[in-house]
Protein backbone atom coordinates (compact mmCIF):
# COMPACT_ATOMS: atom_id res chain seq x y z
CA UNK A 1 0.00 0.00 0.00
CA UNK A 2 1.35 3.34 -0.95
CA UNK A 3 1.27 5.78 1.92
CA UNK A 4 1.16 9.52 1.83
CA UNK A 5 4.22 11.44 2.87
CA UNK A 6 6.72 8.83 1.77
CA UNK A 7 9.00 9.62 -1.10
CA UNK A 8 8.15 6.99 -3.70
CA UNK A 9 11.22 7.73 -5.73
CA UNK A 10 13.35 6.12 -3.10
CA UNK A 11 13.56 2.42 -2.59
CA UNK A 12 11.73 2.19 0.67
CA UNK A 13 12.73 -0.33 3.21
CA UNK A 14 10.22 -2.18 5.35
CA UNK A 15 7.89 -0.16 7.58
CA UNK A 16 9.81 -0.90 10.73
CA UNK A 17 13.13 -2.48 11.33
CA UNK A 18 14.89 -4.09 14.19
CA UNK A 19 18.60 -4.44 14.74
CA UNK A 20 19.83 -7.94 13.94
CA UNK A 21 20.95 -10.04 16.88
CA UNK A 22 24.03 -12.01 16.05
CA UNK A 23 24.64 -15.31 17.79
CA UNK A 24 28.17 -14.15 18.37
CA UNK A 25 26.92 -11.15 20.38
CA UNK A 26 24.41 -13.21 22.28
CA UNK A 27 27.11 -15.46 23.63
CA UNK A 28 29.22 -12.62 24.99
CA UNK A 29 28.28 -12.23 28.62
CA UNK A 30 28.77 -8.77 30.10
CA UNK A 31 31.75 -9.28 32.33
CA UNK A 32 32.16 -5.61 33.09
CA UNK A 33 30.38 -4.11 36.09
CA UNK A 34 30.11 -0.52 37.26
CA UNK A 35 33.17 0.21 39.36
CA UNK A 36 35.52 -2.02 37.40
CA UNK A 37 38.44 -0.45 35.54
CA UNK A 38 37.79 0.54 31.95
CA UNK A 39 38.40 -2.09 29.31
CA UNK A 40 40.46 -1.46 26.21
CA UNK A 41 41.98 1.88 27.19
CA UNK A 42 42.78 4.05 30.18
CA UNK A 43 40.06 6.21 31.74
CA UNK A 44 41.67 9.44 30.52
CA UNK A 45 42.46 8.17 27.02
CA UNK A 46 40.52 9.25 23.98
CA UNK A 47 40.13 7.24 20.80
CA UNK A 48 42.80 7.82 18.13
CA UNK A 49 41.78 10.43 15.56
CA UNK A 50 42.12 10.18 11.81
CA UNK A 51 41.47 13.55 10.23
CA UNK A 52 41.70 14.45 6.54
CA UNK A 53 40.68 17.82 5.12
CA UNK A 54 39.68 18.43 1.52
CA UNK A 55 38.02 15.17 0.53
CA UNK A 56 34.85 16.69 -0.94
CA UNK A 57 36.14 18.38 -4.08
CA UNK A 58 33.12 20.51 -5.01
CA UNK A 59 32.85 22.06 -1.55
CA UNK A 60 34.75 25.18 -0.53
CA UNK A 61 36.17 23.23 2.35
CA UNK A 62 35.66 19.81 3.83
CA UNK A 63 36.95 17.34 6.36
CA UNK A 64 36.55 13.70 7.25
CA UNK A 65 37.08 12.44 10.77
CA UNK A 66 37.26 8.92 12.06
CA UNK A 67 37.67 7.99 15.70
CA UNK A 68 37.36 4.23 15.81
CA UNK A 69 33.67 3.63 15.08
CA UNK A 70 32.61 7.25 14.79
CA UNK A 71 32.84 8.39 11.18
CA UNK A 72 31.78 11.86 10.16
CA UNK A 73 32.11 13.79 6.91
CA UNK A 74 31.70 17.54 6.83
CA UNK A 75 31.46 19.96 3.91
CA UNK A 76 31.45 23.75 4.06
CA UNK A 77 29.88 25.88 1.32
CA UNK A 78 30.24 29.59 1.37
CA UNK A 79 30.33 32.39 2.21
CA UNK A 80 27.51 32.85 -0.25
CA UNK A 81 24.65 35.29 -0.56
CA UNK A 82 21.80 34.84 1.89
CA UNK A 83 18.59 34.46 -0.05
CA UNK A 84 15.09 35.23 1.20
CA UNK A 85 16.48 36.62 4.42
CA UNK A 86 16.24 40.20 5.62
CA UNK A 87 19.44 42.24 5.67
CA UNK A 88 21.73 41.34 8.48
CA UNK A 89 25.01 43.05 9.12
CA UNK A 90 26.48 39.86 10.51
CA UNK A 91 26.82 36.69 8.49
CA UNK A 92 24.82 33.61 9.24
CA UNK A 93 26.27 30.23 10.14
CA UNK A 94 23.99 27.40 9.18
CA UNK A 95 24.76 23.95 10.55
CA UNK A 96 22.89 20.88 9.38
CA UNK A 97 23.50 17.39 10.67
CA UNK A 98 22.24 14.34 8.81
CA UNK A 99 22.49 10.74 9.81
CA UNK A 100 23.01 8.03 7.24
CA UNK A 101 20.20 5.45 7.53
CA UNK A 102 22.72 2.79 8.51
CA UNK A 103 24.64 4.94 11.00
CA UNK A 104 22.94 3.75 14.16
CA UNK A 105 21.88 0.40 15.52
CA UNK A 106 18.25 1.16 14.67
CA UNK A 107 17.68 2.34 11.12
CA UNK A 108 17.11 6.07 10.76
CA UNK A 109 14.62 6.53 7.97
CA UNK A 110 15.73 9.05 5.36
CA UNK A 111 13.82 12.36 5.37
CA UNK A 112 11.87 11.55 8.50
CA UNK A 113 14.37 11.18 11.30
CA UNK A 114 17.66 11.55 9.51
CA UNK A 115 18.07 15.14 10.60
CA UNK A 116 19.16 15.82 14.11
CA UNK A 117 18.55 19.37 15.25
CA UNK A 118 19.76 19.05 18.87
CA UNK A 119 23.09 17.81 17.58
CA UNK A 120 23.24 20.64 15.03
CA UNK A 121 22.48 23.11 17.81
CA UNK A 122 25.34 21.80 19.93
CA UNK A 123 27.79 21.99 17.05
CA UNK A 124 26.55 25.45 16.04
CA UNK A 125 27.09 26.75 19.57
CA UNK A 126 30.63 25.38 19.65
CA UNK A 127 31.55 26.95 16.31
CA UNK A 128 29.80 30.31 16.26
CA UNK A 129 32.07 32.22 18.70
CA UNK A 130 35.11 31.26 16.60
CA UNK A 131 33.89 32.38 13.17
CA UNK A 132 34.30 36.06 12.32
CA UNK A 133 30.78 36.53 11.03
CA UNK A 134 31.01 40.30 11.36
CA UNK A 135 33.25 40.27 8.27
CA UNK A 136 30.58 38.56 6.17
CA UNK A 137 27.51 40.78 6.03
CA UNK A 138 24.54 39.53 3.99
CA UNK A 139 26.10 36.10 3.59
CA UNK A 140 25.62 32.58 4.81
CA UNK A 141 28.15 29.89 5.57
CA UNK A 142 26.61 26.44 5.26
CA UNK A 143 28.11 23.58 7.22
CA UNK A 144 26.73 20.18 6.22
CA UNK A 145 27.65 17.29 8.46
CA UNK A 146 26.92 13.67 7.58
CA UNK A 147 27.25 11.06 10.27
CA UNK A 148 28.26 7.88 8.49
CA UNK A 149 28.66 5.83 11.62
CA UNK A 150 27.80 6.87 15.16
CA UNK A 151 29.21 5.48 18.35
CA UNK A 152 27.91 7.55 21.23
CA UNK A 153 26.08 10.86 21.06
CA UNK A 154 28.75 12.85 22.90
CA UNK A 155 31.40 11.50 20.57
CA UNK A 156 29.26 12.64 17.63
CA UNK A 157 29.17 16.17 18.99
CA UNK A 158 32.88 16.37 19.73
CA UNK A 159 34.01 14.75 16.48
CA UNK A 160 31.47 16.81 14.54
CA UNK A 161 32.86 20.01 16.03
CA UNK A 162 36.45 19.06 15.18
CA UNK A 163 35.52 18.11 11.61
CA UNK A 164 33.46 21.26 11.09
CA UNK A 165 36.16 23.55 12.42
CA UNK A 166 38.77 21.85 10.22
CA UNK A 167 36.47 22.18 7.21
CA UNK A 168 35.90 25.88 7.95
CA UNK A 169 39.66 26.40 8.09
CA UNK A 170 40.02 24.42 4.86
CA UNK A 171 37.43 26.70 3.24
CA UNK A 172 39.51 29.71 4.20
CA UNK A 173 36.81 31.31 6.31
CA UNK A 174 38.25 33.72 8.84
CA UNK A 175 38.21 32.44 12.38
CA UNK A 176 39.75 33.59 15.61
CA UNK A 177 41.01 30.07 16.26
CA UNK A 178 40.45 26.37 15.68
CA UNK A 179 37.74 24.81 17.81
CA UNK A 180 38.40 21.41 19.32
CA UNK A 181 36.11 19.43 21.50
CA UNK A 182 36.19 16.56 23.96
CA UNK A 183 33.65 14.73 26.10
CA UNK A 184 33.90 13.39 29.64
CA UNK A 185 31.50 11.30 31.71
CA UNK A 186 31.09 10.04 35.22
CA UNK A 187 31.08 6.24 35.29
CA UNK A 188 30.84 4.79 38.76
CA UNK A 189 32.89 7.26 40.77
CA UNK A 190 35.41 7.81 38.03
CA UNK A 191 35.81 10.24 35.17
CA UNK A 192 36.23 8.69 31.74
CA UNK A 193 36.91 10.59 28.56
CA UNK A 194 35.36 10.03 25.13
CA UNK A 195 32.78 7.34 25.86
CA UNK A 196 31.52 4.83 23.33
CA UNK A 197 27.81 4.16 23.04
CA UNK A 198 28.13 0.99 25.07
CA UNK A 199 29.99 2.74 27.88
CA UNK A 200 27.59 5.69 27.87
CA UNK A 201 24.81 3.41 29.11
CA UNK A 202 26.51 3.22 32.49
CA UNK A 203 27.29 6.90 32.83
CA UNK A 204 25.58 9.07 35.41
CA UNK A 205 26.33 12.39 33.78
CA UNK A 206 28.31 13.65 30.84
CA UNK A 207 29.83 16.86 29.61
CA UNK A 208 31.08 18.03 26.24
CA UNK A 209 33.51 20.93 26.27
CA UNK A 210 34.49 22.82 23.13
CA UNK A 211 37.27 25.34 23.30
CA UNK A 212 39.72 27.47 21.42
CA UNK A 213 43.07 26.09 22.65
CA UNK A 214 45.02 28.91 20.98
CA UNK A 215 43.18 31.55 23.04
CA UNK A 216 42.53 29.38 26.10
CA UNK A 217 38.83 30.16 25.97
CA UNK A 218 35.71 28.00 26.00
CA UNK A 219 33.05 28.27 23.32
CA UNK A 220 30.54 25.70 24.54
CA UNK A 221 29.74 23.56 27.54
CA UNK A 222 27.06 20.93 27.09
CA UNK A 223 26.24 18.96 30.19
CA UNK A 224 23.48 16.43 30.81
CA UNK A 225 22.77 13.95 33.58
CA UNK A 226 23.92 14.47 37.12
CA UNK A 227 27.25 15.50 38.53
CA UNK A 228 28.29 17.57 41.50
CA UNK A 229 30.08 20.86 40.84
CA UNK A 230 33.52 19.50 41.72
CA UNK A 231 33.11 16.67 39.25
CA UNK A 232 32.08 19.19 36.60
CA UNK A 233 35.21 21.27 37.27
CA UNK A 234 37.40 18.18 36.98
CA UNK A 235 35.68 17.08 33.77
CA UNK A 236 36.17 20.54 32.28
CA UNK A 237 39.86 20.62 33.20
CA UNK A 238 40.46 17.17 31.75
CA UNK A 239 38.58 18.03 28.57
CA UNK A 240 40.50 21.24 28.13
CA UNK A 241 43.89 19.55 28.40
CA UNK A 242 42.74 16.89 25.89
CA UNK A 243 41.49 19.64 23.58
CA UNK A 244 45.00 21.08 23.55
CA UNK A 245 46.28 17.69 22.33
CA UNK A 246 43.57 17.50 19.68
CA UNK A 247 44.52 20.99 18.50
CA UNK A 248 47.95 19.62 17.54
CA UNK A 249 46.29 16.85 15.52
CA UNK A 250 44.04 19.32 13.68
CA UNK A 251 46.88 21.74 12.97
CA UNK A 252 49.03 18.87 11.67
CA UNK A 253 46.25 17.62 9.40
CA UNK A 254 45.73 21.10 7.95
CA UNK A 255 49.46 21.61 7.42
CA UNK A 256 49.79 18.31 5.56
CA UNK A 257 46.94 19.31 3.26
CA UNK A 258 48.47 22.61 2.15
Amino acid sequence: MAQLGIDRRRINGPEDSRPPVFTQDEKVQPTWNVGDPRQGRGPKDIRPIFLKPGLVTQANGSAYIETERTKIACAVYGPRQSKNVAYHEKGRLNVEVKFAPFSCEVRRAPLRDAEDRPLAMAIYQALVPSVRLELLPKSTVDVFITVIEADGLDACISSGVIAASTALADAGIEMIGLVTSCSASIVGGDIWLDLTREEARHSRGSLVLSCLPALRTVTSVWQTGQMISDEAYKCMDLCQSRCNDIHVVVAQALRENV
Binding site: M121, Y124, V128, V218, S220, G225, Q226, A232, Q240
Partner: protein, 336 residues
Protein backbone atom coordinates in the same frame (compact mmCIF):
# COMPACT_ATOMS: atom_id res chain seq x y z
CA UNK B 1 19.78 28.42 14.68
CA UNK B 2 19.29 29.24 18.33
CA UNK B 3 19.07 32.96 18.67
CA UNK B 4 20.38 34.56 21.83
CA UNK B 5 17.56 37.05 21.61
CA UNK B 6 14.28 37.15 19.80
CA UNK B 7 14.02 40.89 19.30
CA UNK B 8 16.38 43.28 17.55
CA UNK B 9 17.78 46.30 19.24
CA UNK B 10 19.79 49.21 17.91
CA UNK B 11 23.49 49.45 18.69
CA UNK B 12 22.96 52.57 20.78
CA UNK B 13 20.37 50.87 22.97
CA UNK B 14 22.59 47.83 23.38
CA UNK B 15 25.57 49.87 24.44
CA UNK B 16 23.37 51.89 26.82
CA UNK B 17 22.22 48.74 28.58
CA UNK B 18 25.72 47.24 28.65
CA UNK B 19 27.27 50.40 30.07
CA UNK B 20 24.60 50.53 32.76
CA UNK B 21 25.33 46.99 33.86
CA UNK B 22 29.11 47.42 33.79
CA UNK B 23 29.11 50.76 35.62
CA UNK B 24 29.75 51.01 39.34
CA UNK B 25 27.23 51.00 40.99
CA UNK B 26 25.43 48.99 38.33
CA UNK B 27 22.32 50.46 36.83
CA UNK B 28 19.38 48.66 35.24
CA UNK B 29 16.38 50.22 33.57
CA UNK B 30 13.93 48.93 36.17
CA UNK B 31 16.13 49.82 39.11
CA UNK B 32 16.90 46.28 40.19
CA UNK B 33 20.30 45.16 41.43
CA UNK B 34 22.24 42.69 39.29
CA UNK B 35 21.26 39.67 41.37
CA UNK B 36 17.60 40.54 41.89
CA UNK B 37 14.70 38.74 40.30
CA UNK B 38 11.48 40.42 39.30
CA UNK B 39 8.50 39.22 41.29
CA UNK B 40 7.59 35.61 40.55
CA UNK B 41 4.05 34.33 40.79
CA UNK B 42 3.18 30.67 40.94
CA UNK B 43 -0.06 28.76 41.10
CA UNK B 44 -0.56 25.02 40.88
CA UNK B 45 -3.60 23.12 39.74
CA UNK B 46 -4.58 25.50 36.96
CA UNK B 47 -5.57 22.87 34.39
CA UNK B 48 -8.38 20.72 35.74
CA UNK B 49 -8.08 17.95 33.19
CA UNK B 50 -4.35 17.44 33.64
CA UNK B 51 -2.72 15.18 36.22
CA UNK B 52 -0.65 18.10 37.42
CA UNK B 53 -0.29 21.68 36.32
CA UNK B 54 1.19 25.03 37.21
CA UNK B 55 1.35 28.58 35.97
CA UNK B 56 4.40 30.76 36.50
CA UNK B 57 4.77 34.40 35.67
CA UNK B 58 7.86 36.49 36.15
CA UNK B 59 7.58 40.26 36.38
CA UNK B 60 3.85 40.80 36.08
CA UNK B 61 3.03 44.36 36.98
CA UNK B 62 0.00 43.82 39.18
CA UNK B 63 -2.53 41.18 40.01
CA UNK B 64 -4.92 41.89 37.17
CA UNK B 65 -2.53 43.38 34.66
CA UNK B 66 -0.40 41.98 31.89
CA UNK B 67 3.28 42.11 31.15
CA UNK B 68 5.94 39.70 32.21
CA UNK B 69 6.90 36.22 31.14
CA UNK B 70 4.12 33.72 31.50
CA UNK B 71 4.34 29.94 31.21
CA UNK B 72 1.77 27.23 31.81
CA UNK B 73 2.91 23.67 32.36
CA UNK B 74 0.72 20.59 32.56
CA UNK B 75 1.44 16.90 32.83
CA UNK B 76 -0.80 14.24 31.44
CA UNK B 77 -0.45 10.51 31.96
CA UNK B 78 -1.16 7.98 29.28
CA UNK B 79 -1.09 4.21 29.44
CA UNK B 80 1.40 2.72 27.07
CA UNK B 81 1.88 -0.81 25.87
CA UNK B 82 5.40 -2.13 26.19
CA UNK B 83 4.99 -4.03 22.91
CA UNK B 84 4.63 -0.75 21.09
CA UNK B 85 6.56 2.35 22.17
CA UNK B 86 6.59 1.83 25.90
CA UNK B 87 9.68 1.43 28.01
CA UNK B 88 9.84 -0.70 31.15
CA UNK B 89 9.21 1.61 34.09
CA UNK B 90 7.56 4.36 32.06
CA UNK B 91 8.97 7.37 30.31
CA UNK B 92 8.73 11.14 30.24
CA UNK B 93 8.37 13.32 27.17
CA UNK B 94 8.65 17.10 27.45
CA UNK B 95 7.43 19.52 24.82
CA UNK B 96 7.45 23.29 24.83
CA UNK B 97 5.26 25.27 22.49
CA UNK B 98 5.62 29.00 22.11
CA UNK B 99 2.53 30.98 21.38
CA UNK B 100 2.88 33.17 18.27
CA UNK B 101 1.38 35.94 20.41
CA UNK B 102 4.48 35.85 22.58
CA UNK B 103 6.80 36.23 19.59
CA UNK B 104 4.98 38.44 17.07
CA UNK B 105 8.20 39.39 15.27
CA UNK B 106 9.26 35.82 14.49
CA UNK B 107 8.30 33.98 11.34
CA UNK B 108 6.52 30.67 11.83
CA UNK B 109 9.68 28.82 10.79
CA UNK B 110 11.81 30.64 13.33
CA UNK B 111 9.16 30.02 15.97
CA UNK B 112 9.19 26.29 15.25
CA UNK B 113 12.96 26.24 15.60
CA UNK B 114 12.83 28.21 18.83
CA UNK B 115 10.33 25.91 20.48
CA UNK B 116 12.22 22.86 19.32
CA UNK B 117 15.43 24.21 20.83
CA UNK B 118 13.77 24.98 24.16
CA UNK B 119 12.05 21.57 24.16
CA UNK B 120 15.37 19.85 23.56
CA UNK B 121 17.01 21.47 26.55
CA UNK B 122 14.05 20.72 28.82
CA UNK B 123 13.62 17.17 27.59
CA UNK B 124 17.31 16.27 27.76
CA UNK B 125 17.43 17.50 31.34
CA UNK B 126 14.19 16.16 32.78
CA UNK B 127 13.95 12.86 30.91
CA UNK B 128 17.46 11.79 31.90
CA UNK B 129 17.48 8.37 33.52
CA UNK B 130 19.12 9.69 36.68
CA UNK B 131 15.99 11.73 37.52
CA UNK B 132 13.45 9.11 36.53
CA UNK B 133 10.68 8.50 39.08
CA UNK B 134 10.09 4.93 40.24
CA UNK B 135 6.32 4.80 40.16
CA UNK B 136 5.59 5.10 36.45
CA UNK B 137 5.39 1.37 35.86
CA UNK B 138 2.01 -0.40 35.86
CA UNK B 139 2.45 -4.03 34.90
CA UNK B 140 6.02 -5.27 34.61
CA UNK B 141 6.63 -6.41 31.04
CA UNK B 142 3.24 -5.23 29.82
CA UNK B 143 2.14 -1.70 30.54
CA UNK B 144 3.56 1.55 31.86
CA UNK B 145 2.73 5.23 32.14
CA UNK B 146 3.87 7.76 29.61
CA UNK B 147 4.14 11.17 31.22
CA UNK B 148 3.66 14.02 28.78
CA UNK B 149 4.90 17.30 30.17
CA UNK B 150 3.62 20.07 27.94
CA UNK B 151 4.49 23.71 28.39
CA UNK B 152 3.09 26.76 26.70
CA UNK B 153 4.92 30.06 26.69
CA UNK B 154 2.11 32.61 26.64
CA UNK B 155 4.27 35.69 26.72
CA UNK B 156 7.98 36.33 26.86
CA UNK B 157 9.41 39.33 28.68
CA UNK B 158 12.82 37.77 29.11
CA UNK B 159 14.27 34.95 31.18
CA UNK B 160 12.06 32.32 29.63
CA UNK B 161 14.29 29.39 30.63
CA UNK B 162 14.02 30.04 34.36
CA UNK B 163 10.26 30.33 34.04
CA UNK B 164 10.05 27.10 32.05
CA UNK B 165 12.06 25.06 34.50
CA UNK B 166 10.19 26.56 37.44
CA UNK B 167 6.80 25.72 35.98
CA UNK B 168 7.99 22.26 34.94
CA UNK B 169 9.11 21.57 38.49
CA UNK B 170 5.83 22.86 39.90
CA UNK B 171 3.72 20.80 37.49
CA UNK B 172 5.71 17.64 38.21
CA UNK B 173 5.47 18.34 41.92
CA UNK B 174 1.71 18.62 41.52
CA UNK B 175 1.36 15.45 39.42
CA UNK B 176 -0.67 12.61 40.88
CA UNK B 177 -0.17 9.14 39.49
CA UNK B 178 -3.38 7.08 39.79
CA UNK B 179 -2.95 4.01 41.94
CA UNK B 180 -3.44 0.82 40.01
CA UNK B 181 -4.32 -2.70 41.03
CA UNK B 182 -3.27 -5.73 39.06
CA UNK B 183 -5.91 -8.10 37.81
CA UNK B 184 -4.94 -11.74 37.70
CA UNK B 185 -6.85 -14.56 36.17
CA UNK B 186 -6.75 -17.61 38.36
CA UNK B 187 -7.70 -21.17 37.54
CA UNK B 188 -10.83 -22.24 39.31
CA UNK B 189 -10.30 -23.96 42.60
CA UNK B 190 -12.47 -27.01 41.87
CA UNK B 191 -9.83 -28.49 39.53
CA UNK B 192 -7.79 -31.22 41.05
CA UNK B 193 -4.65 -29.61 42.41
CA UNK B 194 -2.40 -32.44 41.33
CA UNK B 195 -3.16 -31.92 37.69
CA UNK B 196 -1.07 -28.75 37.61
CA UNK B 197 1.72 -29.98 39.78
CA UNK B 198 5.07 -29.42 38.16
CA UNK B 199 7.98 -31.54 39.05
CA UNK B 200 10.71 -29.35 40.54
CA UNK B 201 13.43 -31.11 38.56
CA UNK B 202 11.72 -30.62 35.26
CA UNK B 203 13.66 -28.45 32.85
CA UNK B 204 12.24 -25.00 32.24
CA UNK B 205 10.43 -24.77 28.97
CA UNK B 206 9.80 -21.60 27.04
CA UNK B 207 6.34 -22.88 26.19
CA UNK B 208 5.36 -23.20 29.81
CA UNK B 209 3.24 -20.12 30.39
CA UNK B 210 2.39 -21.08 33.94
CA UNK B 211 5.61 -19.56 35.21
CA UNK B 212 5.09 -16.19 33.56
CA UNK B 213 3.78 -13.23 35.49
CA UNK B 214 0.07 -13.77 35.89
CA UNK B 215 -1.14 -10.20 35.92
CA UNK B 216 -2.77 -9.43 32.60
CA UNK B 217 -4.54 -6.16 33.16
CA UNK B 218 -5.03 -3.47 35.74
CA UNK B 219 -7.76 -1.36 37.18
CA UNK B 220 -7.71 2.06 38.78
CA UNK B 221 -8.31 2.01 42.47
CA UNK B 222 -8.66 5.78 42.72
CA UNK B 223 -11.41 7.96 41.54
CA UNK B 224 -10.75 11.09 39.50
CA UNK B 225 -7.75 13.14 40.58
CA UNK B 226 -6.64 11.25 43.60
CA UNK B 227 -3.46 9.25 43.50
CA UNK B 228 0.04 9.19 44.82
CA UNK B 229 2.58 11.90 44.15
CA UNK B 230 5.34 11.26 41.67
CA UNK B 231 8.27 9.50 43.31
CA UNK B 232 11.26 11.74 44.03
CA UNK B 233 9.40 14.96 43.43
CA UNK B 234 11.88 16.85 45.61
CA UNK B 235 14.56 16.11 43.04
CA UNK B 236 13.17 18.01 40.06
CA UNK B 237 15.66 20.76 39.22
CA UNK B 238 15.50 24.53 38.84
CA UNK B 239 17.34 26.63 36.30
CA UNK B 240 19.19 29.91 36.71
CA UNK B 241 20.31 31.83 33.66
CA UNK B 242 23.46 33.86 34.17
CA UNK B 243 23.71 36.64 31.62
CA UNK B 244 27.34 37.44 31.02
CA UNK B 245 28.74 40.77 29.89
CA UNK B 246 32.55 40.64 29.85
CA UNK B 247 33.25 39.33 33.37
CA UNK B 248 30.16 40.45 35.23
CA UNK B 249 26.95 38.53 35.25
CA UNK B 250 23.40 39.38 36.17
CA UNK B 251 20.18 37.48 36.68
CA UNK B 252 16.65 37.62 35.30
CA UNK B 253 17.25 39.69 32.17
CA UNK B 254 14.38 41.49 30.52
CA UNK B 255 13.87 41.11 26.78
CA UNK B 256 15.88 44.23 25.99
CA UNK B 257 18.69 43.21 28.30
CA UNK B 258 18.76 39.77 26.69
CA UNK B 259 19.23 41.37 23.30
CA UNK B 260 22.17 43.38 24.64
CA UNK B 261 23.87 40.34 26.17
CA UNK B 262 26.03 38.14 24.01
CA UNK B 263 26.55 35.19 26.29
CA UNK B 264 24.28 33.24 28.60
CA UNK B 265 25.06 30.34 30.88
CA UNK B 266 22.14 28.10 31.79
CA UNK B 267 22.69 26.18 35.00
CA UNK B 268 20.18 23.54 36.01
CA UNK B 269 20.57 22.42 39.58
CA UNK B 270 18.81 19.80 41.65
CA UNK B 271 18.97 19.74 45.45
CA UNK B 272 18.00 16.24 46.52
CA UNK B 273 17.45 15.88 50.27
CA UNK B 274 20.43 14.50 52.20
CA UNK B 275 22.88 14.64 49.31
CA UNK B 276 25.06 17.32 47.77
CA UNK B 277 23.55 19.61 45.13
CA UNK B 278 23.91 18.13 41.69
CA UNK B 279 24.28 19.81 38.36
CA UNK B 280 21.65 18.39 35.99
CA UNK B 281 22.35 20.47 32.97
CA UNK B 282 24.63 23.21 31.78
CA UNK B 283 24.61 25.05 28.48
CA UNK B 284 26.62 27.94 27.20
CA UNK B 285 24.49 29.88 24.72
CA UNK B 286 25.68 32.81 22.68
CA UNK B 287 28.16 34.13 20.22
CA UNK B 288 31.09 34.76 22.54
CA UNK B 289 33.77 32.71 24.15
CA UNK B 290 34.70 32.79 27.80
CA UNK B 291 37.69 31.69 29.86
CA UNK B 292 37.45 28.48 31.85
CA UNK B 293 38.27 30.04 35.27
CA UNK B 294 35.45 32.55 34.70
CA UNK B 295 33.00 29.77 33.91
CA UNK B 296 33.99 27.98 37.10
CA UNK B 297 33.30 31.13 39.09
CA UNK B 298 29.93 31.48 37.41
CA UNK B 299 29.06 27.89 38.31
CA UNK B 300 30.08 28.48 41.91
CA UNK B 301 27.89 31.56 42.22
CA UNK B 302 25.12 30.06 40.14
CA UNK B 303 24.84 27.19 42.58
CA UNK B 304 24.05 29.66 45.35
CA UNK B 305 21.42 31.50 43.31
CA UNK B 306 19.87 28.18 42.37
CA UNK B 307 19.78 27.13 46.00
CA UNK B 308 18.00 30.32 47.03
CA UNK B 309 15.54 29.95 44.17
CA UNK B 310 15.01 26.31 45.05
CA UNK B 311 14.28 27.01 48.71
CA UNK B 312 11.74 29.71 47.99
CA UNK B 313 10.09 27.65 45.26
CA UNK B 314 9.90 24.68 47.60
CA UNK B 315 8.25 26.77 50.31
CA UNK B 316 5.77 28.14 47.80
CA UNK B 317 4.91 24.67 46.49
CA UNK B 318 4.24 23.37 49.98
CA UNK B 319 2.07 26.41 50.65
CA UNK B 320 0.14 25.73 47.44
CA UNK B 321 -0.42 22.10 48.47
CA UNK B 322 -1.83 23.33 51.74
CA UNK B 323 -4.00 25.99 50.11
CA UNK B 324 -5.54 23.51 47.70
CA UNK B 325 -6.15 20.95 50.39
CA UNK B 326 -7.88 23.65 52.42
CA UNK B 327 -9.89 24.75 49.41
CA UNK B 328 -11.02 21.21 48.68
CA UNK B 329 -11.96 20.75 52.30
CA UNK B 330 -14.13 23.87 52.53
CA UNK B 331 -15.78 23.07 49.22
CA UNK B 332 -16.61 19.59 50.40
CA UNK B 333 -17.93 20.84 53.74
CA UNK B 334 -20.10 23.45 52.07
CA UNK B 335 -21.72 21.02 49.67
CA UNK B 336 -22.93 18.77 52.47
Amino acid sequence: MPATSTISLSKAEKSYIQTGILSDPPFRADGRSLRAYRSVELETGVALLANGSARVSIGREGINSGGGTEVIAASKLEVEDLNEDGVEGGRIVCTVSCSPAAYPHLTSNALDELQEDISTILHQTLAHHSLHPNNLGILPGKKSWLLHLDLIVLSDAGNVFDAIFMSARAALWDTRVPRTRRITYRARKDHAEGQYHIDADENFSGFDTRRLAKATDFELSDYWDEGEVLDGRERWPVCVTLNVISQTHYLDATLQEEAATLLRLLLVYSFPPNSPPSLCGMRLVGGEDSALPDIKDFIKEGEQYAQELFISLDAKLREEDLRRKQKAYTKFARSR
